[in-house]
């Protein structure tokens, strides 16, 4: 039980750190975000291994990591990728989940599984998929995310983060013109667009 409480606390702290890192000067740091997501995954695994399976937290494997990390209008590659990264392990787990809470899934949730294929399409084209505006997403997910700077108690933090709600992520699209690196491959130099 103690481990369980510790895991919940660490999850809450991690989520608040992820939120705080969005407003960090210099943008999201990939390394830090990756480490945060690894801690969250460990805490989530411990938490779920100690919680009895009857609890209605079916979609929770993805929840701690499925945060709307994108801030405002900018389609930040790192923020979108971070969320995908954090769900990397969860993605595999999800297939093993027997009962999924279909009621609480947002309409765009199924698009997450297709997201892996977007690497085939050029990502510098804007995403044409319909998606909720950031403000609407937050409105749809009841209660609002916790304040960034405070340390919150474990019990209230997890419920207030609406772990039963999957928050859809906007696509990875956006104009990211990065064809500036020439890369040699077998001696032939060509302009390589960053993908």
């Amino acid at each position: 039980m103690e481990v369980n409480a510790e895991a919940r606390r660490i999850l809450a702290v991690s989520i608040s750190k992820l939120y705080a890192s969005r407003s960090q000067r210099g943008g999201l740091r990939l390394h830090r975000s990756l480490l945060l997501s690894l801690v969250m995954r460990s805490a989530r695994d411990i938490y779920h291994s100690s919680v009895p399976p009857a609890e209605p937290m079916d979609t929770s494997p993805e929840e701690p990591a499925e945060l709307d990390l994108e801030s405002g209008p900018q389609p930040d590659e790192t923020s979108a990728e971070l969320s995908l990264t954090a769900r990397g392990g969860a993605h595999r787990e999800e297939e093993g989940e027997p009962a999924e809470d279909k009621e609480n899934q947002s309409p765009t949730r199924c698009s997450r599984k297709r997201r892996g294929k977007t690497s085939v399409a050029p990502h510098f084209l804007p995403s044409k998929r319909a998606r909720l505006e950031p403000g609407e997403e937050r409105h749809a997910a009841l209660p609002p995310p916790p304040p960034v700077s405070c340390r919150i108690g474990p019990a209230e933090s997890l419920t207030s983060l609406s772990l039963n709600r999957v928050i859809p992520l906007p696509g990875r699209g956006g104009p990211a013109w990065r064809s500036f690196v020439t890369r040699t491959h077998g001696g032939l130099a060509r302009t390589r667009s960053d993908s």
Partner: protein
């Protein structure tokens, strides 16, 4: 008080002045320190994008006690804050790394980098200026042509020494992620810049293109499990470089094998001890710094709690492991909450590769003698550093009864951290950055 020299052959003494800015702002926090290859110059970079270069004073018979002291030589603004309009992201001006180029003429060259852009700076002295122009006055005003009756040739006249820094090259637009390290090749023609997922090879003369030689970005970012944390060229072999990862592994690559060095030729990793597994195992195993030894036979890596020395011929485990501050192992949760667990400490070799040094908290820094296996903890602080006194070894009390001079783990100040240190390439002079203060300690064994 036990004599310092019993633990290490060096006795470090603080200088008569400690170099720091008078008022401490966020921008004054030193973010990197580096001696040049002769040790004559010492460069520091700070969060405000400034570079300050110190030069060692020449020996002078009239003031023998001032021999070898470092004074400010040049100060310049290397990087300015920028804004990436496409991503709506601010690019910090903080100097992440400075690397010197070996001196080839009268001028000095260094590379400095922030998160996105590397710049080559030339630092040169000017102690003469031309005077006596034909068509303009000494203050620059054009002379009235009707007053010019004779021809004269400008002559170089001595002037007060002026040290000027000019940006000679700007290497930009090659990194999507944040640059964490740069390294100059021993061929003195190329260098690498490294971000979280890629290593790019540049020619010092060419700024509009670079070669990508390592790319660990997965096709599907959901599968990302590790990032590159640091990379360095081998000190002698111009085709070899090493890069460290957030998973605690180091890869040695040979550029002759393939254009894209995604396949390593050596892979260094120590298996994790399952007994020490915790929530934070991944974070504390992430390598924050990797350095080749001067002789090129060893590698040193720093993770959160240890420093490891690896033999390049042995990949499955390190040659030596040194505990920097193992008393923090039980405090990882608190250190995670206050973000200290993400601190990236650097490590450094001395000139003969016999001693290694790294920083810790409470303005402590640690030295480990690889031969005698002795170690010492020293503190960089004004209160404890009287001029020409011997630095007293410090000790952290891990439990039980605390002795008079010891400090308990709970009393450590985690806001005072020494992340950046450097060691003179030939002599026992070290520079230690403690927030906005630079401490230079010299060994004056008589």
């Amino acid at each position: 008080m036990k004599c310092f020299s019993r633990y290490l052959p060096y006795i470090f003494r603080p200088p008569s002045t400690i170099l720091s800015s008078s008022c401490h702002t966020e921008a004054d926090i030193i973010s990197t320190v580096e001696f040049n290859s002769s040790g004559e110059l010492l460069a520091t970079g700070d969060k405000g994008g400034r570079v300050v270069v110190f030069q060692r004073e020449q020996e002078s018979k009239s003031q023998p006690q001032r021999r070898g002291e470092y004074n400010v030589y040049s100060t310049f603004q290397s990087h300015e804050p920028e804004f990436d309009y496409l991503k709506s992201l601010e690019i910090e001006e903080k100097i992440n790394k400075i690397k010197w180029l070996p001196q080839q003429n009268a001028a000095y060259f260094l590379l400095s980098t922030n998160d996105k852009t590397v710049k080559l700076w030339k630092i040169s002295e000017r102690d003469k200026r031309p005077e006596g122009y034909n068509l303009k006055d000494d203050d620059g005003r054009i002379r009235d042509p009707s007053t010019i009756t004779s021809l004269r040739v400008p002559v170089l006249q001595p002037m007060d020494l002026m040290v000027e820094a000019t940006a000679r090259r700007v290497f930009s637009n090659a990194h999507t992620y944040h640059i964490n390290s740069i390294s100059v090749n021993s061929d003195l023609q190329t260098f690498i810049s490294t971000d979280d997922l890629r290593v790019n090879l540049w020619n010092l003369e060419i700024t509009d293109r670079s070669f990508n030689i390592v790319d660990i970005k997965p096709a599907n970012m959901e599968e990302l499990t590790e990032v590159i944390t640091s990379a360095e060229f081998h000190p002698q072999q111009c085709h070899t470089f090493a890069y460290s990862s957030s998973k605690g592994s180091i890869r040695l690559c040979d550029m002759r094998q393939a254009a894209l060095c995604d396949k390593h030729c050596k892979y260094f990793e120590e298996p994790e001890d399952p007994a020490t597994r915790s929530f934070f195992s991944e974070i504390i195993s992430s390598i924050s710094d990797v350095k080749f030894s001067h002789n090129g036979r060893h590698l040193m890596t720093r993770d959160y709690l240890t420093v490891k020395v690896w033999d390049l011929q042995m990949e499955n485990k390190p040659l030596e492991t040194y505990q920097v501050h193992d008393y923090l192992r039980g405090k990882l949760c608190s250190l995670y909450e206050n973000d200290c667990i993400f601190d990236k400490f650097e490590c450094v070799w001395n000139g003969s590769d016999s001693v290694i040094m790294t920083g810790s908290y409470n303005n402590f820094f640690r030295m480990f003698d690889r031969n005698t296996k002795r170690d010492v903890t020293l503190e960089a602080s004004r209160e404890n550093s009287k001029p020409r006194a011997i630095l007293k070894p410090r000790k952290v009390c891990v439990g039980g009864k605390r002795r008079k001079d010891e400090i308990s783990v709970d009393s450590l100040d985690f806001s005072k951290k020494i992340l950046h240190t450097t060691w003179h390439p030939h002599e026992n002079i070290i520079a230690v950055a403690a927030t906005n203060n630079l401490y230079i300690f010299q060994d004056k064994v008589n």
